[in-house]
């Protein structure tokens, strides 16, 4: 196929990506946008398959079929609650693929004995691809581990942390210099150097993400997503391919913007997220508030709800963990049948990812009109009879408003403490994901409904029915 046709097809696929991304940002077109971008991907893949005389077609077929099966199964089977970690691990695989493309390009130089003749810039881009790809891979794996609970979610900090990171970056820069411009003076086999660089990049990904607390993982995943775009972009330079550069750059730059939007909704700076060890600053957890919490039984909670004229449900990650979204929708139905007005207030960063709660509530068929944003509910929250906090913690913590020493001071929260009564469904008095105490639990107008959120909710539904 001629070069012009190939490039034309790549341009078409890039246009599909641009429109797809644009549409993904609009509520009514998002699903179509995803499809448009998928068509762009299909065009790019088919073009790549027919553009060259494919020599190792059976291996490409094996890789694609196996990858499709694994990807499709994972996407199908994953519970909606585990979506954030799924995105993290897909992202990690993208990084790994870029790493391998860079590596295999270097490998080609060694097979053809052209390493010494290659131009410096190409070699540096190969190293760059390997480094970004490797760090994205391991960083995403750590994010996945933290979100899925396989690693401790709290920020893990150790002395000399910044020093270690700086040292690792210096090592990478040094090996890049040795690999490219200074390769004449390289005394070891260049393959050893490449393997060492890959290892260092992988370690950097781990040390970069491990000190960041679980509450900040959404921001980290968004940033890593941006990195994987840059890795793809770098891989595009390695093989001089337009569509990789365009698509990679689109993801890289839009990912930065999205990361920024997320930081803003938490009222934090990106540098703060990355380097401050959020949630780890408070070492003496539990020391601050020693008040008396008021527990309440399911029966009493029912009586309170039955008398309420309007109820505001504030969901958080606990709802996702307990899979309580369907039960809570059932409770909302019962309340409405009882003549009570029900609304859901969704904090922009409730759950482990922005929009996480919206996905779950949509899954449970909560009507769109009942979903309210934080800024819409806060001004009238004094008129709410009962606010039900189901598995949310940090996003309803009044300390963000009042306590200047709190790590989340300044973060916009849903002011449920100003509602007439608050019912908090919670497993125990343990602090939330970010490890911060919540004075809300000790307020006079707060009632704690301890236990599994789903069981408690089902208990309330049974009371209504009974």
């Amino acid at each position: 196929m001629s070069e012009a046709i190939i490039n034309g097809l790549y341009i078409i696929s890039a246009i599909f990506f641009v429109f797809g991304l644009k549409m993904l940002g609009k509520a009514d077109q998002a699903r179509k946008g995803n499809l448009v971008s998928a068509v762009g991907m299909l065009i790019a893949i088919v073009t790549a398959l027919v553009s060259q005389s494919v020599l190792e077609w059976q291996w490409i077929a094996i890789g694609m079929i196996a990858g499709s099966i694994v990807g499709a199964m994972a996407a199908r089977l994953v519970a909606m609650t585990a979506m954030p970690e799924m995105v993290a691990i897909f992202n990690g695989f993208g990084g790994a693929a870029s790493l391998l493309v860079g590596w295999s390009e270097y490998h080609r130089y060694t097979v053809t004995n052209t390493y010494m003749d290659a131009d410096v810039l190409s070699l540096l881009i190969i190293i760059l691809t390997i480094v970004i790809g490797g760090a994205t891979f391991t960083g995403s794996l750590v994010a996945w581990g933290k979100l899925s609970g396989k690693l401790p979610s709290k920020a893990i900090q150790y002395p000399g942390q910044q020093f270690v990171n700086v040292l690792l970056v210096a090592l990478i820069i040094g090996s890049a210099a040795l690999f490219g411009p200074l390769r004449e003076s390289l005394s070891i086999d260049s393959y050893l150097l490449v393997i060492a660089t890959i290892l260092v990049a992988c370690i950097l990904g781990i040390t970069f993400v491990i000190p960041i607390g679980g509450g900040d993982m959404p921001v980290v995943i968004s940033l890593l997503n941006s990195f994987s775009g840059m890795a793809a972009c770098a891989a595009g330079f390695v093989i001089s391919n337009n569509v990789l550069i365009v698509a990679g750059a689109l993801v890289g730059s839009s990912g930065i913007i999205l990361t920024n939007i997320m930081c803003k909704s938490m009222n934090r700076k990106l540098t703060n997220v990355l380097f401050s060890g959020f949630g780890a600053s408070k070492s003496s957890a539990g020391g601050g508030f020693q008040g008396e919490a008021n527990p309440v039984s399911v029966e009493d909670a029912y009586l309170m709800l039955e008398a309420a004229s309007n109820v505001l449900v504030v969901p958080g990650y606990g709802m996702a963990v307990a899979q309580a979204q369907h039960a809570i929708q059932e409770l909302a139905d019962q309340l409405e049948a009882n003549g009570t007005e029900v609304n859901f207030a969704v904090h922009p960063v409730a759950g482990r990812m922005p929009g996480h709660m919206n996905v779950l509530l949509a899954e449970a068929n909560v009507p769109y009109e009942q979903l309210k944003e934080m800024d819409d509910v806060n001004p009238n929250i004094e008129n709410v009879d009962i606010a039900i906090v189901i598995g949310a913690n940090d996003v309803v913590n009044p300390a963000a408003r009042t306590d200047e020493t709190s790590p989340i001071y300044g973060m916009p929260v849903i002011d449920v403490d100003k509602a007439r009564t608050v019912i908090v469904m919670k497993r125990s008095m343990k602090p939330g994901f970010a490890g911060i105490d919540n004075p809300l639990f000790f307020n006079d107008n707060t009632r704690m409904l301890f236990g599994d959120a789903k069981k408690s909710t089902q208990g309330l539904v049974a009371e209504f029915k009974g």
Partner: protein, 101 residues
């Protein structure tokens, strides 16, 4: 050729900056997931690394690296698009059908 590619990079980056603005919060996760699927474009690089112009001989290491990268990138692409679609499909049904209790 090299300068041309840098030119493309800069333009595409600016386009990316402009594309995403004022995205409603509930779309953040799908958007991230959807753009993550696009970053699976590496699959094109992975395919090319196993294709005519780039393969010198049936070198085992080339095949291992290439096949693995095709595998990983395909997971990213297929999984990414499907999971995004699954998320967005829920929004649509939640909006269209009136809820029946």
């Amino acid at each position: 050729m090299g300068m041309m590619l840098v030119f493309v990079l800069i333009l595409a980056s600016f386009l990316g900056f402009e594309l995403i603005s004022k995205v409603p919060a509930q779309l953040h996760t799908p958007l991230m997931s959807g753009s993550n699927a696009i970053s699976g474009i590496t699959v094109v690089g992975a395919i090319l690394s196993l294709s005519g112009a780039f393969v010198v001989s049936s070198d085992t290491m080339t095949i291992i690296l290439g096949t693995l990268s095709v595998f990983f990138a395909t997971i990213n692409v297929v999984g990414g698009y499907m999971v995004t679609d699954r998320m967005l499909s829920m929004f649509n049904t939640g909006k269209k059908e009136d809820h029946v209790s």
